[in-house]
């Protein structure tokens, strides 16, 4: 196996003890916020919150440089202590940085730091400042555990931890019942995925035990995946993928993510765009050996990814809430990443993950900046012309749009293109087609979003307009940095055909294997041309249509007929789930309680008691007090006794 071979070379662990401080630093921040945050005030909270992540970032950089500067396949490890041990099972708190996780921690701490910084400004007026930073730091810590953990159980700690933070942050403004509800929904949908996650882990674990090596470290799983029985690797991979669909918002578990936009905008940026939602992709890439050992599972991953990419993109077309558009676009982009994984291009998936983190964080923060500037207005139909009031936001946002739309030269172009080329090259023509079509839709709705928000005339009320303003420096600075990254971030992975060295894929190769395209230059350029064409077509169409303002929605609706309203309603998936799952479950629960518990079981118990009591009542009447009756009873007793004895004797004689 190709993957196993690369794994074998990666046998040069450098044992260190500083990796543990990467997640620990934000955790200390959490404790600080809880214990002292409300007493010491905003400045201290903001400072400590950012500093904690900065420390992580510094250490992450150190780890990254160590890995990057060492021979390919080097890993840095930090074995802290044995966490669980029972029977054949054990799991350590052990952290590992290899090529793959080094990229991840850089993204998490880097983007994370920027978002912390942004939050200092964005949340400046919120009374629960300390709580917010506590959550944010906790989230960062959990995410870092997720990517640094060297085994599935430890990853699961981070996995559920980020879910928890997502729950808390979405419901941050808890007095609004809808927001609290959205948080709960996110947690529960994730939990469904998590159940798949643990069952997948169990399947693999026991199969490995049968092979004589019960372990859930990624190294073992990847190394021995090929020896697993086919059913075990397939079932394990698919169950784990169920977990991934939960966390990374894929069909059928994506429904929580759009609702999650209820949280404060930095949260959306951090959790629901840049980091947490990529956990599923990271996990599949991390376990590439397992997934490759069960090729059918990769088919499923790719298909689900492509379908999600397309489905979410179509919903994105019709949304009117600025954050909802971005949310569906996130779902869609995550679909692309899974598409990449599904066709075996793990490196391409991670590449897109990284570039997406840049531009999507940028877009969300930009949206937040707009919302902040327009006093919590989120409806793009009531925006327009914002570029005049918010030049920095506008410029950075525009770059983000271009990047996600796949305009050549920006980061999104390189990563998306690599995905599409890989899909085509591996013979998944259908998936490629979906991807291209999706790319043009993406370009369309992102342009629509941009035009409706920043171009034309302002459509909201005058008050808002007069008070509209550019955001403070703590907010714009991250925007600028992210915009820069969104532009240049792709250059680490410029493909050979464009004269690049594809360094990124090479760097990742020891972790996830190198996916050779195997296309000739002509085909590759042609594919590139097609996708660029699709993107430009989308941009052009949207630009012309929406220059006229939101009225163009109606044109589109007429063209698409009923479908458009379905898109706007997100295909009513929530209602369907509610009718098919939630309501029946609640009704069944209520019926169970009433019928089984109260009527049946207690009925039997109380019925027995009543029956015994009524026998008692009946027998009590026997004691009439009438001596004749008593006498009669005695005689009856005598008769019965004699009868019994005689019968017994007769039977005895007969027998």
């Amino acid at each position: 196996m190709h993957a196993a071979a690369t794994e074998a070379t990666a046998s040069l662990p450098i044992a260190v003890t500083y990796l543990r401080y990467i997640p620990l630093a934000p955790l200390v921040g959490v404790l600080f916020h809880i214990a002292l945050g409300y007493r010491l005030g905003r400045r201290a909270v903001g400072l400590v919150g950012c500093a904690a992540v900065a420390v992580s970032f510094a250490l992450a950089t150190k780890a990254f440089l160590t890995v990057a500067g060492s021979p390919a396949g080097t890993v840095v490890t930090d074995n802290v202590y044995q966490w669980l041990s029972s029977g054949e099972f054990s799991a350590n708190v052990a952290f590992t940085v290899d090529a793959l996780s080094s990229v991840m921690i850089m993204v998490v701490t880097g983007v994370g730091f920027l978002i912390h910084l942004y939050s200092v400004g964005y949340m400046a007026h919120d009374e629960d400042y300390a709580r917010f930073f506590a959550y944010l730091n906790l989230f960062t810590a959990a995410m870092l555990v997720l990517v640094l953990g060297d085994n599935l159980p430890l990853m699961f700690v981070g996995w559920e931890g980020v879910g928890l933070c997502s729950y808390l942050l979405i419901g941050f403004w808890y007095t609004d019942p809808e927001k609290a509800s959205a948080g709960k929904k996110a947690f529960l949908v994730n939990r469904i995925g998590d159940a798949g996650f643990v069952l997948g882990a169990f399947t693999i674990f026991w199969a490995l035990v049968d092979l004589g090596q019960g372990s859930l470290t990624f190294a073992t799983i990847n190394a021995r995946a090929a020896e697993l029985p086919a059913w075990a690797s397939l079932a394990g991979a698919l169950l784990l993928f169920v977990g991934a669909t939960g966390k990374s918002a894929q069909i059928p578990l994506y429904v929580w993510l759009p609702d999650a936009m209820a949280g404060p905008t930095p949260v959306s940026a951090l959790i629901h765009a840049a980091t947490m939602v990529t956990a599923g992709i990271y996990m599949v890439a991390r376990l590439h050996g397992l997934f490759e050992a069960a090729p059918f599972s990769l088919q499923v991953v790719g298909t689900v990814g492509a379908a999600t990419a397309l489905l979410a993109a179509t919903i994105g077309i019709a949304q009117t809430d600025i954050k909802k558009v971005l949310a569906y676009s996130t779902v869609s982009q995550l679909g692309y990443m899974f598409l990449a994984l599904g066709v075996g291009a793990f490196g391409a998936g991670i590449f897109h993950l990284m570039t997406h983190a840049f531009f999507k964080a940028l877009l969300f923060l930009g949206a937040g900046s707009v919302i902040h500037g327009l006093h919590e207005e989120q409806d793009i139909r009531r925006m327009g012309g914002v570029s005049q009031k918010m030049p920095i936001t506008h410029a950075t946002f525009a770059l983000g749009v271009l990047a996600i739309a796949g305009v050549p030269g920006l980061s999104g172009f390189f990563s998306k293109d690599e995905i599409l080329a890989s899909a085509y090259a591996s013979g998944h023509t259908w998936l490629w087609g979906c991807g291209v079509f999706g790319a043009s839709i993406t370009a369309f709705y992102m342009t629509r979003l941009y035009v409706l928000t920043f171009r034309g005339e302002f459509r909201g009320d005058h008050h808002e307009w007069e008070h509209a303003h550019e955001s403070p420096a703590t907010m714009t600075l991250p925007l600028i940095v992210l915009a820069a990254l969104a532009v240049v971030g792709g250059y680490v992975g410029v493909p050979a055909v464009l004269g690049g060295g594809n360094h990124f894929a090479e760097y990742l190769a020891p972790s996830v294997g190198h996916h050779q395209l195997g296309l000739d230059a002509g085909t590759e350029l042609m594919l590139m041309g097609i996708s660029v064409g699709a993107a430009l077509a989308g941009i052009g169409l949207a630009w012309t249509m929406y220059s006229r303002g939101p009225k163009a929605d109606r044109t589109l609706a007429n063209a698409l007929r009923g479908l458009y309203w379905q898109m706007r309603a997100a295909y009513n998936i929530d209602a369907v789930y509610d009718a098919l799952v939630v309501q029946p479950l609640m009704r069944a629960s209520y019926a169970l309680w009433r019928s089984v518990d109260m009527q049946f079981i207690d009925g039997v118990a109380n019925g027995t008691a009543t029956a015994i009591n009524s026998i008692g009542e009946g027998s009590r009447r026997w004691a009439t007090g009438n001596v004749q009756h008593y006498m009669l009873t005695v005689l009856a007793g005598v008769a019965a006794l004699v009868l019994a004895l005689t019968l017994g004797a007769l039977i005895g004689v007969a027998g």
Binding site: A609, N613, R620, Y630, M631, G637, V638, L645, A649
Partner: protein, 481 residues
Amino acid sequence: MTQAINSGLPLIVACSWALLLIVVEMFSRDRRFVGVAWTTVLGFAATAAISLHYSGDPAVYGNALALDGYAVYFNLLVCALGAAAVLLSVEHLGDAGIVRGEYYSLMFFAVIGVVIMAAATDLIVMFIGLETMSMAVYVLAGIRKSDLRSNEAALKYFLLGALASALLLYGVALLYTMTGSTVLADVAKALSSTNYAASDHLVLLLATGLILIGFGFKIAAVPFHLWAPDVYEGAPTSVTAFMATAVKAGGFAALLRTMLEALAPMRAELAPVLWGAAAVTMTIGNVVALRQTSLKRMLAYSSIAHTGYLLVGVTAGTAEAGSSVMFYLAAYGAMNIGAFGVMVALARRGRGCENISDFSGLAQTHPALASAMALFLLSLTGIPPLGGFVGKFYVFTAALHAGLVWLVVIAALNSVISAAYYLGVVRTMYFDKAPDDVLPSARPYAAVVVAVAAVATVLLGVAPSPVLGTAARAFRLVLLG
């Protein structure tokens, strides 16, 4: 000769003492008869001491009596129970409106009857003991002459008792015609050595059946139990306490010896009947007790239920089972005397404190009494580590050893039912609010009896070994002798 006198000595002393009591009572000026009561207690003590001193002697008077370990055990037990009942009576007679000195001598005669029953090794002597006891108790039950209910109950008791006695006597007579003896050991010998024709066998069965009925009446086994609730309720509480414990012990003393010694060869045939009687008796007793509002009636039914448990031991029929019944009677005596004692302690003239509802909130007004009562009730339920539990445990063990698995299961489930009404009283005492008219403070004599009974109940549970050992030895000797 001296031996014969020694063995008869407890009886002689007891009878003399009883006569003495009649005289003492005549000369008693105290309308409360405290002196008479103490004389009675002294008499019990003397009887007990003498039987303890001369114990172990073989059967005398033509194999009619034996002061063996078995008899001594019952002597001690019944004297203790009698003494307790007497002490309960000291104040209660006044509270119950009884001004009759012969009360104590009657009680003494009843005890003498039990002593005879326990020592009798001849069915005729046993019958004499039974009648001595019964006659005394018939009168005691109706001693409240002015109380109609009490009189009616006593009359009922007498009529039914007479019927039962007649049946018993008839059974003994039939047995005599078949075996040619009324001496227990000889009966057993004849039964095991003779090969009876089928028709004769039927007669034998009839005889044993009638004997069983006679005893079954005294121990209130279903369906010969109907007198018990009425009589228990009608009699003064101190008498009820005596009947529920000492009289029952007497009945079992006679039944056990008859069944295990004389009728042992017929055990296999009698076992199914006993099995059924045990199951029905405990079940009916428990089930009906559930519905009682009068504590006295409830305890009456509970005592029927306990007869059922005891019959499990009789059914098993082994030496072990016999001693388990003996132990059970001791434990049962302690906790039942205690329970009635609590009622007596709170009873006043015109207010019997006989309904369960009278005990509402007792835990707050009389915490000590309430906890003692709770103790007795828990012991009656069979909650460890109290005497009632060890008794039940011993009986179950013996029964299981004899292979009576299902009977034990039925008994176990019956204990659950019993928990419902015993703890129903605990509930009333502890959970309910005390009524406005608070019960008076406890009568001192009764309180002391209650305390002693409580200690005995606990000791019989925590450190039952001495009593267990005595019972076990006593019974083994019976079967050997």
